[in-house]
Amino acid sequence: MSIELKILEGCKNGERAAQERLYRHFAPTMLGICLRYTKSRDEAEDVMQEGFIKVFTNIDRFRKEGSFEGWIKRIMVNTALNHYHKAQKLNSHRNIDDIREVDIIEDDKPMPKTRFSQKEMLDAIQVLPEGYSTIFNLYVFEKYKHKEIAEMLNISVNTSKSQLSKSRIYLKKVLNRMEEERKGNNRS
């Protein structure tokens, strides 16, 4: 996917029409990314808006060596991480390690067989504790390594690994629960 050079140049010149075209092109994908990192749509839109403002104000610093979409994605992810850090400062009593272990005890249940909708999968990620969802997103979707995640979130590599493992268990439990609920609904 490539953005026309003309639009890019227009954005660099601060042309509003070009900016809007660029926004319309990338906004759905970027909002999808932001939704994965946040707890609600409103929060995701806030992050996306902030991210796009950064894109437009720093667009002249984009070097045409790599993918423009990749550059925007990185900005969105970084903005979401900043959002996470801010939230962490406000709720300093709750960090990644504070999540109750009872929630993430591995059960013996197998992986659910149900095919879940996109919305259900998104709900599952959004109910994850924030630190978990961040690590899960960075590892699974952004393909960062544990070392990088550790640097980004200022945690140890082992913490990153263990939290990823816990997030998977958590997600599996959530999906199983959703499957049970769905079966219960079908019976009734």
Partner: protein, 577 residues
Amino acid sequence: MKEANEIDQLFEESLGGLAVEPSAEAWGNIASGVDAAAGGGASTASAGSTKYLMWVLLGTIAAILASIFFFTQSRSEVKPSDHNTIANVNTKADIVAVEQIKSNETISIVSEEEINQTSETRMDANNADVDQAETLAISATDKRIEKKAIDNNLQTEVVERTPMSYNIDEQNTSTVSSSDSYDKEQDLDSKLTNTVLESEVTIVEEAVIVETQVAVPAETPKTTNEVSKETNNTEVVSEASAAQVANVTNNQSQEANSLQESSEAKIESKETALVENSSEVKTEEKEEISNTEEASSENAVVESTETAPSPTETAGTHFATGWSVDVFGGPAWINNTEQATQVEGSTIYQTSMDKNILTPNIGLNIKYHLNNWFIQSGLTYAEYGENRDYTNKIEMHDTSGYSNQNINEYYSYDSVGFYIDPNNPTVVITLYDAIKHSDTSYNWVSEDSLYYEHHNIYAQNRFRYIEIPLMFGYEFRFKNLGVELSTGVSFGFRVNSSGKFLDSNNELININQSNSPYSNTMMNYLLSIGVKYHLTNRFSIIAQPTYKTNISSLFSSGTTTSYNNFGLNVGLNYIIK
């Protein structure tokens, strides 16, 4: 492990391409956010222009205040070195007073000879005036008696006048108004007025002498005291004579009212008495005027024979008018307004805030002094810059497991022919060849281990200017000390630059004179407070804290970063002339 991968895969497949249409108002919010960010830049520029206007305003106010102070001082200040002038002014006042009595003409006298000559003239004129006035007074009295007119107002005016409540203009004005109120007796009034003014001459002279006393330096106390004493006596006598004239006039008027047909002899006897009194007045006044003139002349002589200070020198080692030169040098502390920012996704970025630096300031200024004021210009060598840390974040691939692979290359296979096994001719085996591809556009995600190395780059950015200051200031003088306040602007020309700088493409460039982000010229505001101590008549040592800030950005484009220069210069001041 398998389960973990399943979960990862499940979510990646489901949400990897998640795209959700944002709300309608999202774009509006972004647009206004971008505007606000751009407005921030505008407000920065606006802040810059506000700063500029503030300086201009302050400069204007300072200039206005300085002008007011300068003119006020030059008009009101009486300097010890201006004794000559004061003596001249006093004598002039004297002369003007006398001449106003005579013909209301103003005589301008500059030289000492002129003063003396005029004083003598005044003495003669005064003597003549006294005679004439008294005669006229008598004559007027006669005429008043004949006309039976009583000039109560005039009499009252004559009686009411006290020595210290007059000045020449008031006297003339009041006298003229009195005269105007008596049109029919204008001549008489004017003559009487002359008489009255005659007595007032003394009053004026007294005031002049008092002034002279103030102005006369300690070298002539005796003369001044004598003059003062004589003046006091004269004052009494003059008042007496005026009162006598008034009394006689009054008495004669009363007589004219009550005894219209009084005898001429009686009147003559009174007239004789009046003439006698007037003669006494004349004699005493002559003496007084003579003494006063002598005193004035003495004062003038004393003042003029003193060695008057040269216009280019004043007391001590302070400098009034002329040229001097300052040679100075010292350290300057430089800081800038640059903010350390890391561009999203950039590989090279500024690690921390810039470190302030100490640089040398060396210069030479030529000053032109006009009393306490001075203007100056010259040449100054100044350095600006900062010490800056950059970090180069390098993405490293651990390709130990893929030692023969280039991560930007991949291979595909295409058939180049086929082979038929002679032992099994029904089977056709397709031959493939590897085709090497290089793909730099693809956002390649490597499967190998990725890590980052951070390399620190230390840059000492220096850019050097030769500056030409243009300043004006005021010097407060205290014996051997002087405190100089000065302000102005300087124009700089870049002569050299070095260091490392992130350009607009976020690439680190080496700065040199030809490849520099800094503009070739610049302009500063200057403010300094200097303390000067006089070592000899010509040499002074100076210590001068200075503040300098850029009016125009040092950067040719892209940034509004400006530099502040806090310097402490020490040096020598030499009076050329």
